[in-house]
């Protein structure tokens, strides 16, 4: 009888533990999705601690190298992969480790960084996708601009409009897009202006066209970039001569984007109220901010002309 009770307890507890264990295993995978990516090596649950030790050994090993080149890149890659198999969530593996091999083996670097980009634990890290795109355009031969665009876009989106990084990521994003669009047929300045203008047009149609938020059509950032691109297209320098197509595009952009910004269509110099000719290039300008009776400049927001005393008609309320 005593044995029967024992056996019943064993069976019942085994069933309950089995059912509960199965459910908890599923829950654990949801709570810690990165466990799937961790190597199945029996390390007694100390994968993280072993990864920490491996990281320090890796840093120590790198310190013993003069440079990472063809002679040691395989060993560095092997160590990086081992680190990733123990702790795929360690951001430093990608941000500092993977970049060590970016010159000797850019393909491997991008492969490692792509894995990191897909890691849900690192989804808020904007540097990793940026580095992936950066390696593609700077170290790969030939540069892979088209493939780099989604990474730069990811970096911009992840940076969430933070100061500094966002501008940097966005610059690379637009430049990569410009390279893809021009395909060697247009100069870089023209291509960049085209891409920025296209983004502005897209943004005004759909605020989520590129990045949304900070990169929206009416954003200061995009307008600043457009303004700078217009100047670059129009102004001659030692290694650049403005092209007819570039000038046409720049004029179109000025008229469309900066129609109310009081800048010279020809040279993009800013001008003040009452000015008839551009001080930079002598082009006839669209005059603004003058009294309709005496044609003299008036202060912004003035209700009466300071020369004739005439009252200005009130602007219709919006």
């Amino acid at each position: 009888m005593k044995n029967v009770i024992h056996i019943i307890i064993i069976i019942v507890s085994c069933l309950v533990a089995g059912i509960l264990g199965g459910k908890l295993n599923t829950t654990q995978r949801e709570l810690a999705p990165s466990k799937e990516a961790i190597s199945g090596m029996p390390l007694g649950g100390f994968q993280k601690f072993i990864s920490d030790m491996e990281w320090m050994l890796f840093v120590n090993y790198l310190g013993s190298l003069n440079t990472v080149d063809e002679s040691n890149v395989d060993e560095v890659s092997r160590r990086l992969e081992r680190l990733m198999s123990h702790d795929p969530n360690l951001g430093k593996i990608y941000q500092e480790g993977a970049l060590m091999i970016s010159i000797a083996d850019p393909e491997k670097t991008v492969e490692i960084l792509t894995k990191a980009c897909n890691n849900p634990h690192l989804k808020s890290n904007s540097q990793i996708p940026f580095y992936a795109g950066f390696v593609m355009v700077q170290h790969m031969k030939p540069p892979k601009y088209k493939e780099a665009i989604p990474f730069f876009k990811m970096a911009v989106d992840r940076s969430g409009g933070g100061e500094g990084f966002n501008n940097y990521y966005a610059s690379y994003y637009y430049r990569a897009k410009a390279k893809v669009w021009s395909d060697g047929k247009f100069d870089d300045r023209h291509a960049l202006l085209h891409v920025l203008y296209d983004s502005w047009l897209g943004d005004t149609r759909d605020e989520n066209y590129v990045g949304g938020g900070t990169m929206g059509g009416d954003s200061v950032d995009l307008k600043d970039r457009l303004f700078s691109a217009i100047r670059n297209v129009k102004n001659e320098s030692e290694d650049y001569k403005p092209t007819v197509d570039g000038n046409k595009l720049a004029d179109a952009v000025v008229q469309r984007v900066f129609s109310d910004s009081h800048i010279c269509h020809a040279c993009t110099a800013a001008y003040g109220p009452g000015v008839e000719y551009c001080s930079g290039c002598g082009t006839k300008l669209k005059v603004y901010g003058v009294c309709q009776f005496c044609q003299k400049a008036v202060l912004p927001g003035a209700k009466f002309c300071t020369t004739t005393g005439q009252k200005f008609p009130e602007e219709p309320k919006k």
């Binding site: 024992h6 007694g44 649950g45």
Partner: protein, 243 residues
């Protein structure tokens, strides 16, 4: 019930009276604090390293306490300690449960001391409160002592004195890598232990807390598995001849 409490009480009192236990706890604290020296070599990851080292060393401490159980039971049986009680009908089961609870309590106290020390070291070193994830993981380590103690009891009864601790260590070690068997319903978790359920060390280092509901559920699993293993041990023990 009184017998179980008496056995458990005498077990933990005997062990916790030893000064060497506290000396070892102090050594563990020193080891945890030594992680602070690795700020340069870890490229600034010394905070994460300290959290991880505390969890690693606490796990080792817990396992060592449990392993001592596999030495204690065969030794007591050999020396004829509690032979009067073992001759009673329910005496053997009570003895095993008492020993198991006693060692769980010892492990919980020692691990709690290690955890408290690591919290203080973290707090003093980085002037910031400890993360919930770190606290949860230390609690999970303490809870993992329940199934581990049952496994130790089972092997200390079923296997010879010399082999039992080795097998127990191996089983505890490999029980962290059994998730590949998760497609075996009931057997996995029911017979084959899954101690990895208690392991969120990586998440603790990155301060990703798990739900308290999960902690409670995993404690329940530990208790169920402990009942299974200790009942099996009791069944084997009841048929064993004791000289």
């Amino acid at each position: 019930m009184n017998e179980i409490i008496a056995i458990a009480g005498s077990t933990w009192k005997n062990v916790l009276r030893l000064k060497v236990v506290y000396f070892l706890v102090f050594c563990v604290w020193v080891l945890i604090a030594s992680a602070l020296n690795y700020d340069v070599l870890s490229l600034g990851l010394h905070k994460e390293l300290l959290v991880d080292a505390s969890l690693f060393l606490n796990t080792i401490t817990g396992v060592l306490v449990i392993i001592s159980l596999t030495f204690e039971i065969p030794k007591e049986l050999k020396e004829g300690v509690a032979s009067t009680m073992l001759s009673k009908p329910l005496g053997r089961t009570n003895y095993l449960i008492g020993k198991m609870i006693g060692y769980i309590v010892i492990g919980a106290i020692v691990c709690a001391l290690v955890a408290i020390g690591s919290f203080l070291i973290f707090n003093v070193s980085f002037s910031e409160p400890i993360g919930v994830a770190m606290l949860q993981n230390h609690i999970l380590i303490i809870l993992s002592l329940i199934p581990m103690a049952a496994i130790a009891v089972l092997f200390s009864i079923a296997l010879p004195e010399i082999i039992a601790p080795i097998v127990t260590v191996l089983v505890i070690w490999f029980a962290h890598s059994t998730s590949m068997l998760s497609n075996l319903p009931i057997i996995y978790g029911g017979i084959i232990p899954d101690l990895e359920l208690f392991n969120f060390k990586s998440e603790a280092v990155y301060n990703n807390a798990v739900s308290w509901r999960y902690v409670v559920m995993v404690a329940l699993w530990g208790i169920c598995y402990a009942i299974f293993a200790s009942s099996l041990a009791s069944l084997i023990f009841s048929r064993k001849d004791i000289k």
